[in-house]
């Protein structure tokens, strides 16, 4: 299928997810991560990558799945001005999807709230869940900011 929207497909837990290819800048083996104190658990730290320093988010932890110690990959994604490393189980492929075939997400898909999803779609490999990356990352950012404020104001 040459027509359609190119999507990067990756595994997380038992599900298969997709994000538009233009949001993915690179796919890397996870480099050494420097943890940052006083951040929420899903922010696993920062990495130095070709001259820039990126915060890294463990997408499993972000969605409340159990952490996985297996071989993992990092997708470097961009939303707005911010570049972030996303740790996923394994990046599979880039496929093209038919945007018209995308259905609205159910309230909960693979344990993730609908708000973070763009939709779901049947493919030859099974169900593909399209993530709303902007939303996922903005929410993560806001939660971290709230965490910082909580700590700074001394409220426990």
């Amino acid at each position: 299928m040459m027509e359609g929207l190119p999507v990067v497909v990756f595994d997380l837990g038992t599900e298969r997810y997709g994000v538009p290819v233009e949001q993915v800048l690179a796919v890397e083996w996870v480099p050494p991560i420097t943890p940052i104190p006083h951040t929420l658990p899903f922010i696993v730290g920062v990495v130095s990558l070709r001259g820039s320093i990126l915060p890294v988010i463990d997408l499993r932890v972000r969605f409340g799945f159990p952490r996985s110690g297996d071989s993992q990959q990092m997708m470097v994604v961009r939303t707005g001005e911010v570049e972030v490393g996303l740790i996923v189980d394994a990046v599979q492929d880039v496929i093209r999807i038919d945007p018209d075939a995308v259905e609205p997400p159910p309230a909960l898909a693979g344990g993730i709230e609908a708000a973070y999803l763009r939709g779901v779609l049947q493919t030859e490999h099974g169900v593909l869940v399209l993530l709303n990356l902007d939303r996922v990352l903005t929410d993560a950012e806001q939660r971290q900011v709230a965490e910082v404020q909580r700590r700074a104001s001394g409220v426990s």
Binding site: P32, T34, P35, I36, P37, H38, T39, I43, V46, V47, S48, G51, S52, I53, P55, I57, E81, V82, V84, A140, E141, Q144, V145, V148, Q149, R151, A152, S153, G154, V155, S156
Partner: protein
């Protein structure tokens, strides 16, 4: 050539543009200086000196404007000059009305310059009422005081501004003049005109001679002393004098004028007769030295100052900064690659390159920076006006003038400070009767403070007023329907202060002329946030309020002290680091159950960084490794696991996820590719101030 007609060739336009820029810069500096001197005059600080300064400035502005073909400006400044000249002859200080008029003049000139800057030409007309008032005032002053110390009138005849009637200096006096000048003395001619109706010309001349000799050494006189004594002169006496005091010119004029039947006395600073004579086409900067009632003791001419300055676009400086940053990083990489080399030459070259890169870095950094003084100097005038408007005595003081701010943020910070200062004067400082009742000094005090923590620049506006009325703020929020009363009552004072920054909030009991114009703290916050900074507020009932602006420092490369906390590398900005010490048990004391370090007679709170960040104490076996950091006028000792050494690092400012982490000022990559955290010492100090036990579990 009239530069405004637009018919000039391209190359000439560039030239005239350049002159126009120079003119605008110089003129606005002069207007600023004019305002400053006028404030000092109003406060009664050395009035004669200030008047002389004001006169000199008006005169310079007049000359510069005429040279640029700005005739309305030249005419207006000429009228100001007349007023100032007349004031100089008066025994009594200027009336408040005259001072107000002069302040207003500074404003009008400033607005006129803004117009010139925007359009390249002067306005068609300056405010007519202002011009009329200037003329009336100068006539009134001149009429009232006779002509004890008139100013040479050169309104229509700029070309003859240099008094070519100054006698030639005899050769035998030249040596003395040169020596006196070399010694830094004031040298010049005193010109005294005797009333033509005078009956005892000889006696008057002797008295004048005596009066002048009482102030300065008379090197020569024209006509000769003998002819003077005999009354053998028309009506003008010239004395070539040298005096040590800076205000000699002033005193000479006063002394000579004190003699009866003297109709005019003036002082002309020594000007070498070999110099080119002044003409309207002359550069403006030469005019202050070519005549002037007061000797110009300032030394450097405007031309000399001008030649030392260069205006460069910020883009170019930015590019230079980036290359410098890159150079530093590459040097560090090289150093890492060659870390194991035994070659002494390689090491020495590497060191040298390091030093050069650092020096280059610092120089380029400084290009973008201006001192906080530039910012603060703009406010005394505003506070003065506020004081009159609000009928509250106000004092303004400031600290940290040497703190450097990025040039590109100055204007926005200025606007923010305007709001905060107005706010402090209007809402912060109590009315006079309340201050009296509270036993406070009558004059409300507004304090400006600037300091740098390396990663941030802080600017504070503090008042000693009544503090923020938390109840009133809550009530207002409820009235606005933002909150229900229960929620409002539950808010902490800090949360309540946040409400002040909401658009459309105003706590003023009366909507006043000063800050009730619908722009409030929300505008301040917006401006500061646009610069990547933030604003916070502290307040104490009855004691006052402090607004603090935090601005990111735009430095791309920092000198830091690298330390280990746990096994992670952290970087402390060297601008904050005072000293790294080893503290034994004997150096420590306990205050309220917390350890403090005794450092140069001060007790410095200790923050155990390992404990704070990792729950793994850095303070275990003695000696403890402490890095003493200074934040503004306070200190904090950071306990770390190991001190590694100094280095230059490239600063990656935080964004997104990491922007809010209080202790994290930035990130950097070390030579081996690992990431180090740049610490904000101020956040550590804040942490030290939180009583132990308040922060959830971190100290337990």
């Amino acid at each position: 050539m009239d530069w405004r007609d637009g018919t000039a060739a391209g190359g000439e336009n560039v030239e005239t543009d350049r002159y126009l820029t120079l003119f605008l810069d110089e003129a606005s500096d002069l207007i600023q200086a004019f305002g400053d001197a006028l404030l000092r005059y109003e406060r009664g600080e050395e009035r004669d000196g200030q008047l002389a300064e004001l006169f000199r400035i008006a005169h310079s502005l007049k000359g510069m404007s005429a040279t640029m073909g700005f005739h309305a400006l030249a005419d207006a400044t000429h009228r100001m000059e007349d007023i100032l000249g007349a004031l100089r002859g008066q025994a009594v200080p200027a009336s408040p009305e005259v001072i107000d008029l002069l302040f207003r003049s500074a404003d009008v000139l400033e607005q006129t310059l803004a117009h010139v800057r925007a359009t390249g030409r002067e306005p068609d007309a300056l405010p007519g009422d202002w011009l009329a008032l200037l003329t009336q005032t100068s006539q009134r002053l001149a009429g009232a005081e006779g002509s004890a110390c008139a100013v040479p009138s050169d309104k229509r005849d700029g070309a003859r501004e240099v008094a070519d009637d100054v006698p030639m200096c005899p050769d035998e006096a030249q040596g003395v003049v040169a020596a006196a000048q070399e010694a830094g003395m004031t040298v010049g001619w005193v010109k005294v005109t005797i009333d033509p109706a005078c009956q005892l010309k000889g006696a008057r001349a002797v008295l004048v001679h005596r009066a002048v000799s009482g102030v300065a050494e008379v090197l020569h006189c024209v006509p000769a002393a003998e002819r003077m004594e005999n009354g053998d002169y028309d009506d003008t006496l010239w004395f070539l004098v040298a005096a040590g005091e800076d205000d000699a010119a002033e005193r000479l004029v006063t002394a000579a004028s004190s003699v009866a039947e003297v109709s005019h006395a003036e002082f002309r600073a020594w000007a070498n007769r070999q110099r080119e004579s002044s003409s309207p086409g002359d550069t403006p900067s030469s005019s202050p030295t070519s005549d002037g009632v007061v000797a110009s003791t300032a030394g450097t001419s405007a031309q000399a100052v001008r030649d030392q300055w260069l205006r460069v676009s910020v883009d170019k400086v930015d590019a230079l900064m980036q290359w410098c940053g890159e150079l530093v990083i590459q040097r560090n990489r090289l150093a890492t690659l060659l870390a194991d080399t035994d070659d002494e030459d390689v090491r020495s070259v590497l060191d040298r390159v390091g030093h050069i890169a650092q020096a280059l870095q610092e120089t380029v950094n400084s290009l973008r920076m201006v001192r906080a003084e530039v910012l603060f100097r703009r406010f005394p005038r505003m506070v003065r006006d506020l004081s009159r408007q609000l009928q509250k005595p106000l004092e303004l003081e400031w600290y940290g003038v040497e703190t450097e701010l990025d040039r590109t943020v100055i204007d926005d910070v200025f606007e923010a400070l305007v709001h905060l200062i107005r706010n402090a004067a209007d809402h912060g400082i109590e009315p006079l009767d309340q201050r009296r009742a509270r036993g406070k000094p009558e004059a409300g005090r507004i304090t400006l403070r600037a300091y740098s923590t390396g990663q941030h620049v802080r600017i504070e506006v503090q008042d000693d007023g009544g503090g923020i009325d938390v109840e009133a703020v809550r009530r207002r929020a409820v009235e606005r329907g933002w909150l229900d009363p229960v929620a409002a009552a539950r808010m902490s004072p800090e949360e309540t202060y946040e409400l002040l920054f909401q658009p459309g909030f105003s706590t003023a009991q009366v909507v006043s002329d000063v800050s009730g114009r619908g722009v409030g703290l929300d505008a301040v916050r917006e401006r500061v946030m646009a610069l990547g900074g933030r604003v916070d507020v502290q307040s104490e009932p009855g004691r006052g309020t402090l607004f603090r602006i935090h601005l990111p420092s735009n430095r791309t490369v920092l000198s830091v002290l690298l330390v280990h906390i746990r096994s992670q590398v952290y970087a402390l900005p060297l601008t904050s680091v005072e000293e790294a010490v080893l503290a034994g048990v004997e150096d420590l004391q306990t205050v309220h159950g917390r350890h403090v370090y005794r450092f140069k007679d001060a007790l410095v709170p200790i923050v155990d960084m390992g404990l704070w960040l990792y729950d793994a104490p850095s303070c275990q076996a003695y000696p403890w490794r402490l890095v003493i950091c200074r934040v503004g006028d306070r200190q904090v000792a950071l306990a770390v696991d190991r001190v590694l050494g100094q280095q230059e690092v490239a600063n990656h400012p935080n964004a997104g996820y990491l922007a809010g982490i209080d202790w994290l000022a930035g990130l950097t990559t070390l030579g081996d590719g690992s990431v180090a955290f740049i610490v904000d010492p101020e956040a550590c100090l804040q942490h030290a101030r939180v009583p132990s036990g308040v922060r959830g579990g971190e100290n337990g």
